[in-house]
């Protein structure tokens, strides 16, 4: 019952922003799809195949900062309201373990982002597969996967930084965060991130537990 109530509170906080993000992602995907179909009419499918396959062009690269921004936006909408007027103190006083509260809140955000990314990128790649062979779809997927994981990373980083009560520590966390985010964004040919993926997943696990440090600081009343 309590879990449900908490999740409902998160939903009330974020629903408009989530809707807006869905709209932005849909528009962006639509734009890329339009560019492909316009190019197909103007230069022909064979030329597009050549550009995608032999020249390693991945058009989704043009919107590579979108998941990153979505993560930040999601983190801000969820956690800034908690920090103003010390509302988070009330949240932590709920008859639930603090770990459970944190897990529920972060879990909510991650699920929302996962849905957003799966629907938008999944839909786009599914559409792509009707005109291009599976090798191209796989190459595009392997190119956007680190960018999508980056969205989760920026979300967890944002939560971590906002929840941290000590200002200096916030700055340090932001430095670490900046370095980490750049690791998700190294420019490379499609498929160059295959061996990096386990490392990126590991980073996400770490980022999911770091907010516990901030909550500890928070409870100790550090400023």
């Amino acid at each position: 019952m309590m879990n449900k109530a908490l999740l409902f509170k998160e939903w009330i906080k974020t629903r408009w922003m989530i809707l807006l993000m869905f709209a932005v992602f849909a528009l962006a995907m639509g734009y890329i799809a339009l560019r492909i179909s316009s190019a197909a009419r103007n230069v022909g499918m064979p030329h597009l195949w050549e550009v995608f396959i032999l020249k390693n062009v991945v058009l989704l690269d043009q919107i590579k900062v979108l998941p990153l921004l979505a993560g930040i936006v999601m983190g801000i909408t969820q956690f800034i309201p908690e920090m103003t007027k010390k509302r988070f103190k009330l949240t932590l006083h709920l008859p639930l373990g603090e770990n459970r509260i944190l897990f529920l809140m972060l879990g909510f955000g991650v699920i929302c982002l996962l849905t957003l990314f799966t629907v938008s990128y999944g839909g786009f790649l599914w559409g792509l597969s009707s005109s291009f062979p599976r090798e191209v779809v796989a190459a595009w997927f392997s190119t956007v996967l680190p960018q999508i994981l980056c969205g989760f990373a920026t979300y967890l980083l944002t939560a971590w930084i906002i929840l941290e009560p000590v200002w200096a520590q916030r700055v340090y966390n932001a430095i670490i965060g900046l370095l980490l985010v750049s690791l998700f964004m190294i420019q490379g040919v499609p498929g160059s991130y295959v061996y990096m993926l386990p490392f990126l997943y590991g980073v996400l696990v770490l980022l999911a537990i770091y907010p516990k440090i901030s909550i500890k600081h928070f409870k100790e009343g550090m400023q």
């Binding site: 064979p46 370095l179 980073v203």
Partner: protein, 403 residues
């Protein structure tokens, strides 16, 4: 505390990447080896010396040449300049030459490890290699070849079953055993002529696959019977004397001759995952250069039998960065390097000379932690001692250890 240790670990890891790479940007200077070419006129290596800021052609005896003289010592390289000046010799090494015969037999091959170790999208256009036209035409389909060959029409994204079956049958007749390990070719119509693709099957057989008059042509080159082929780099060269260069798993470089798929050994001890190779060939000699970590090896090989006639070694010069690195950092982390296109963490070996700086940093850590009474002081010092700057910044600024 446990989580804090994880935070410290990640922080040290990231700083061991960013700090050294920033320092490297300020200190790094790549040393280039001088351009070297084997002269067919004086039968020795000649090179361009850029030592004292003035570019000077020299030979191995130290003799200096003016620009015009240098062109005449290396007529096989500067033949176009000589032809323009009407100064091309009538014969070299007793063989009559002219602009066309030189141009026809000259070719270059540049190899770097990234050419081999890079992910590719495994779809290839199959050209008509006997079109009877000057320019190659782009086909309307591309093929994949792993378990079987499949041609996919680009306009419809549908598999052309009939064409695929014809090629599949031809492959099987030639002894192809699935799956293919790789397909190598020149997938562009911007080439002089087409020789299709070379395919390494699961049994190590190297097959030659091309399309002539719309029909499949598949032949076992038999190269796989004498060597374990590792990778191949097809070429299109004007005299059509070879199909391309290949490495075997024992680090030997060969070329595959167009004369009955003969395998000719070019150079031993070349590691395709680490060394760069360049070949500048003319009708008399090949200047073959292998660039390894320890230096640059240059060989002159006779064109007709690949017999080595001369060799030269230039040791690698250490840059300022290479010299100072071991004293500054106990280890470094990198995510990219020049030998492949993959992104992943690479941790260097441990540099013990860095302990000089590490001990100073450790004392500093002690000073900064002097008011701390817990064991955190000792833990912080140990971390700094073994991880240098990255650890020092982490435990003293980013994540102070407290009780």
């Amino acid at each position: 505390m446990k989580i804090k240790i994880l935070y410290i670990g990640l922080s040290i890891f990231l700083l061991s990447w960013i700090i050294p790479s920033l320092v490297q940007l300020t200190l790094d200077s790549s040393s280039r080896y001088p351009f070297t070419y084997y002269s067919s006129v004086i039968n020795q290596f000649c090179y361009i010396d850029v030592e004292n800021d003035n570019v000077q052609g020299k030979d191995m005896s130290g003799k200096e040449y003016t620009d015009a003289e240098f062109d005449r010592v290396l007529p096989m390289f500067y033949y176009r300049q000589l032809a323009m000046e009407n100064a091309l010799p009538d014969s070299i090494q007793g063989v009559p030459v002219d602009l066309h015969s030189i141009a026809r037999n000259n070719f270059f091959f540049w190899y770097k490890p990234k050419d081999k170790n890079t992910p590719v999208i495994e779809l290839y256009p199959m050209f008509e290699s006997c079109s009877g036209k000057v320019d190659l035409e782009n086909p309307s389909d591309m093929f994949r070849l792993k378990d079987k060959i499949e041609f996919i029409d680009m306009a419809t994204n549908q598999v052309d079953e009939q064409k695929s079956a014809r090629f599949q049958q031809a492959l099987q007749r030639a002894g192809f055993t699935a799956p293919a390990q790789w397909v190598a070719g020149i997938p562009t119509s911007q080439k002089a002529y087409d020789e299709g693709y070379f395919v390494l099957d699961s049994q190590g057989r190297l097959l030659h696959v091309k399309m002539t008059n719309g029909k499949p042509f598949v032949k076992d080159t038999k190269a796989g019977e004498t060597i374990n082929v590792s990778c191949m780099f097809p070429m299109d060269i004007e005299n059509k004397s070879l199909y391309g260069f290949l490495f075997d798993t024992n680090h030997t470089l060969y070329y595959l001759s167009t004369d009955g798929y003969g395998l000719v050994k070019v150079l031993e001890n070349v590691d395709p995952d680490k060394d760069r190779v360049s070949i500048m060939a003319n009708m008399f000699f090949w200047t073959v250069v292998k660039e390894s970590a320890d230096g640059e090896y240059t060989y002159a090989l006779k064109n007709e039998n690949m017999q080595q006639v001369d060799s030269l070694f230039r040791p690698a010069r250490q840059s300022q960065w290479d010299k100072t690195l071991p004293y500054l950092f106990p280890f470094t982390v990198n995510f990219q390097d020049s030998t492949n296109s993959y992104v992943y963490p690479r941790i260097s070996g441990y540099y013990f000379p860095s302990f000089g700086i590490n001990i100073i940093l450790t004392l500093l850590t002690f000073v900064l932690y002097r008011k701390e009474k817990s064991y955190g002081k000792y833990l912080a010092s140990i971390i700094t001692l073994f991880t240098g700057f990255a650890g020092f910044i982490t435990v003293c600024i980013l994540a102070r250890l407290k009780k």
